[in-house]
């Protein structure tokens, strides 16, 4: 008899331990006592001298300890609930691209302070850094919202103003919607340009293929290197512009105005960069003639032609930025009566 009793006691103890260990400390003692009495009652109900089979049946009826603990716990079985989920997604959509952008800019700046050994090292470095940075940002935002949900803090968008039908924004016309592919392509292209100018500017030049391939760069590499911070800012403004187009997604004034400002800033900086005619490779013509591809006609004034080149580039840049600004603004006005 004693063995059977201690066996039953043992199983009961184990069960109660399994349930209560999953519960908050403050509730444990109370629930433990409650369950003990309940199990005793259920056993007594079944038989005067309960057997192993009886205790098994009783505990089976009570169910899996983790399920029972779950029922005692406050019902939340999600990380971020419906009240916060949409805001969470929105914040992610803003934070992750911003982080990617920030890391990109940071990497670029650091690239020009330490000359890279080749193209692959900085590129793989970049991807590794951006990958881990994005993961961290994701983790922090998620944790932040999980905590907010747990401690039930009110986030402004969801709970403040009650939604009214008048608040509904008008449906953007089909033509007013910017297909996502456009800004994404723009961003990818800009990032490639950034990498090009920062890591391998010497690839931009005149190619001469003979027994060996020689490249005569268009730019004076030292001056270009010094100009890099400015150039990178210009590129980042371009990135930012495309990012805005991506997030806002349709042509409206909210997009058109920042778009114009960014374009104006980028244009001003482009002028600043190219006002320094030293950016061009002054040895361009000489190097070419040395290669034997070319004989310099007498009286050839390289500076004259470089000035023309500068004006052409500045003209193209102005044209590009102005056209973008005007079309964005025009579409914003037209599709937002």
């Amino acid at each position: 008899m004693e063995n059977k009793q201690s066996n039953i006691q043992d199983v009961t103890d184990r069960y109660i331990y399994e349930v209560t260990k999953r519960l908050p400390l403050s509730q444990r003692k109370d629930i433990e006592q409650e369950l003990r009495t309940l199990i005793e009652d259920m056993l007594a109900d079944r038989a005067e001298t309960p057997t192993q089979a009886d205790i098994d049946a009783v505990l089976s009826a009570l169910g899996n300890p983790s399920d029972l603990a779950g029922k005692y716990a406050d019902k939340k079985s999600y990380l971020i609930g419906p009240a916060y989920y949409n805001t969470y997604l929105l914040i992610l959509k803003i934070v992750l691209p911003s982080v990617a952008l920030g890391i990109t800019v940071a990497m670029l700046v650091s690239l020009f302070t330490v000359a890279p050994a080749g193209i692959w090292e900085p590129i793989s470095n970049y991807f590794a850094t951006i990958f881990s940075a994005l993961f961290q940002a994701f983790a922090w935002v998620t944790i932040g919202f999980a905590l907010a949900d747990r401690y039930n803090m009110k986030t402004t968008p969801d709970t403040q103003a009650k939604w009214k039908p008048r608040d509904l924004p008008p449906i953007p016309q089909k033509k007013a919607i910017i297909p996502k592919s456009q800004p994404i392509a723009g961003m990818v292209f800009t990032i490639l340009v950034i990498i090009l100018f920062n890591s391998v500017p010497h690839l931009l030049g005149i190619y001469s293929v003979d027994t060996t391939t020689t490249i005569i760069p268009f730019f004076n590499l030292t001056v270009l290197h010094n100009m890099l911070p400015l150039l990178n800012v210009i590129f980042c403004l371009g990135l930012l512009r495309e990012l805005l187009k991506l997030i806002i997604g349709k042509y409206n004034l909210q997009l058109a105005i920042p778009d114009m400002i960014l374009n104006a800033a980028a244009l001003a900086l482009t002028f600043a960069v190219f006002s320094n005619t030293g950016i061009w490779n002054a040895d361009l013509v000489n190097s070419l003639s040395l290669l034997g591809d070319f004989t310099v006609p007498s009286g050839f004034d390289l500076t004259y032609y470089l000035n023309i080149a500068t004006r052409v580039i500045l003209g193209l840049a102005t044209f590009g930025f102005v056209v973008d600004s005007i079309t964005t603004l025009a579409k914003a006005i037209r599709y937002n009566k």
């Binding site: 109370d30 629930i31 006592q33 409650e34 369950l35 003990r36 009495t37 309940l38 005793e40 009652d41 259920m42 109900d45 009826a61 009570l62 169910g63 399920d67 029972l68 029922k71 005692y72």
Partner: protein, 112 residues
């Protein structure tokens, strides 16, 4: 017909879940302990499993609808629950609404 039985069982479960709190509250005008409640509900045809009832009683207490007291004088210590004043108020209101719902249901089921 297995499928219809499954669906029916599922919907019935949902239906019963909705009525458990009311049925429990109806028995707590006098202090009662958990297991006794399980048995009496069973006798009256509304069986509630112990592993559902006990957490429910705890939750209702947290909402101030019930108050509890440990009775240590007997052979085993027992936790007795009873409706608070707030609990009684809420219960009365629920009963009124319940009767209204029953009437409405009856009408719905009779009409085409």
């Amino acid at each position: 017909m297995n499928q219809s039985q499954e669906i029916t069982d599922g919907l019935l479960l949902e239906l019963r879940r909705g009525t458990i709190t009311l049925s429990v509250m109806s028995q707590l005008s006098v202090p009662t302990y958990g297991y006794l409640l399980v048995q009496s509900l069973e006798e009256k045809g509304l069986s509630v499993e112990a592993n559902t009832l006990y957490p429910l009683l705890r939750r209702l207490e947290k909402q101030n609808l019930l108050s509890s007291e440990w009775e240590t004088s007997g052979a085993k210590p027992r936790k007795y629950y009873v409706l608070t004043l707030l609990g009684q108020e809420v219960y009365q209101q629920l009963c009124v609404e319940w009767k209204r719902m029953i009437k409405g249901m009856d009408t719905l089921m009779q009409s085409k």
